[in-house]
């Protein structure tokens, strides 16, 4: 039979854990809203940029020889796994880490792989492994502004330009909705397609383009790359809070179940103790009566 005091203590500890998970869920919900707002704020820029890029690139014949679109034989690969800084968000981080490690070991085992982790969890994971690690940007989530994220994107683009890498792959959680995150493996560089398909080609020619189409494409393609990078970071950020919210909701529920069981045990134990006591008293009274 369980000890009454022990059960009481367990009930206390479970309910205080539950309070924490509840609070964490609420915090995650608030942060999720903020993160979603950021995605919404970024969207007009991304859409307009894609539209303008579309307008000018559909007017040009053939491909432009922009450096980011040029494919080279792949010898050096850069992986950018995007995780969170903190844990307690279910399989959010391990999905990314496992996915990245799998790709490195199975698909790119012959290439020289460098890892540029973003998020503390990814950094902790990859610093223990054999691949060289670029650790300049793993604390990006301390401040998720475009200004900040841009630096990381520019660093990667410059490294690609200087042929320090022939391929750059981002692995991140795409934000589908609060409960679902999709692990996305996205080739960042070289660009697989210039954004936006060619439209009917009538509206474009009306524009006066200054200084020239080529100049603008050279200017805007890096912009849209940075936006792509920014989007991955924002998506991951929102996904993290979504994942944490779901995980904490589950934890709160589990704590509830546990509490229910424990309360049952507690009541039963208490009842047993009372019954026992009564039995003893009655037995004692009987013994006294008998001796009289």
């Amino acid at each position: 039979m369980a000890n009454l005091k022990e059960v009481k203590e367990r009930i206390n500890s479970v309910s205080s854990t539950q309070q924490i998970t509840k609070a964490m869920k609420m915090v995650a919900a608030a942060k999720l809203r903020k993160a979603q707002d950021k995605i919404v704020q970024m969207r007009p820029y991304a859409q307009k940029l894609a539209a303008i890029l579309n307008n000018i690139s559909s007017g040009t014949e053939g491909d432009t020889d922009i450096v980011y679109a040029k494919e080279r034989p792949v010898k050096k690969v850069l992986f950018i796994p995007v995780t969170s800084d903190k844990g307690l968000c279910g399989a959010f981080n391990s999905n990314i880490l496992k996915g990245t490690a799998y790709l490195i070991e199975n698909r790119y085992q012959d290439q020289l792989v460098t890892v540029m982790p973003i998020g503390k969890k990814a950094f902790d994971f990859f610093k223990k492994r054999d691949n060289p690690v670029i650790n300049d940007f793993y604390q990006l989530f301390l401040d998720v502004s475009f200004e900040n994220v841009k630096n990381a994107a520019e660093f990667v683009m410059k490294a690609y330009e200087e042929e320090r890498f022939d391929k750059v792959i981002i692995v991140y959680n795409e934000f589908k909705n609060v409960a679902t995150q999709l692990v996305q493996t996205e080739q960042f560089l070289p660009i697989e397609r210039i954004q936006g398909e060619a439209t009917d080609g009538t509206a474009q020619s009306e524009y006066i383009v200054e200084p020239s189409r080529e100049y603008l494409i050279d200017e805007l393609v890096p912009n849209s790359l940075k936006i792509q990078f920014f989007k991955a970071i924002l998506d991951s950020n929102a996904s993290e809070h979504g994942a944490r919210m779901t995980a904490m909701d589950k934890a709160t529920e589990n704590a509830n179940d546990l509490l229910k069981d424990l309360k049952l045990v507690y009541n039963r134990t208490r009842q047993a103790a009372i019954t026992n006591e009564i039995l003893e008293i009655v037995a004692g009274a009987n013994a006294l009566e008998g001796s009289n």
Binding site: Q41, P44, Y215, L216, N223
Partner: protein, 81 residues
């Protein structure tokens, strides 16, 4: 004319303006009503526009501007008010 100034972090300005001038990549220019459709790269410099409240000036760090059908869209990575 409708003017929108957008950065990746947020929309900086949206509203009706009577005039706007931009630091084009090949020299600054002004946009008035019924300007021909244009897409121009921006250099680092001052963007200014006049709305009902008066003249506003902000500084952009490069970007692009599109003018079409009296609708101006400025995309800048960074805007200093």
């Amino acid at each position: 004319m409708q003017l929108e100034i957008i950065t990746p972090d947020k929309k900086i300005f949206e509203g009706e303006v009577s005039e706007a001038s931009f630091p084009g990549a090949e020299g600054s220019f002004q946009v008035l009503k019924n300007h021909a459709p244009i897409i121009s790269g921006l250099a680092k410099g001052k963007v200014s526009f006049t709305d009902a409240k008066g003249k506003h000036v902000m500084i952009v760090d490069g970007g692009v501007v599109e003018v079409k059908d009296n609708h101006i869209i400025v995309l800048a990575e960074k805007v200093i008010l």
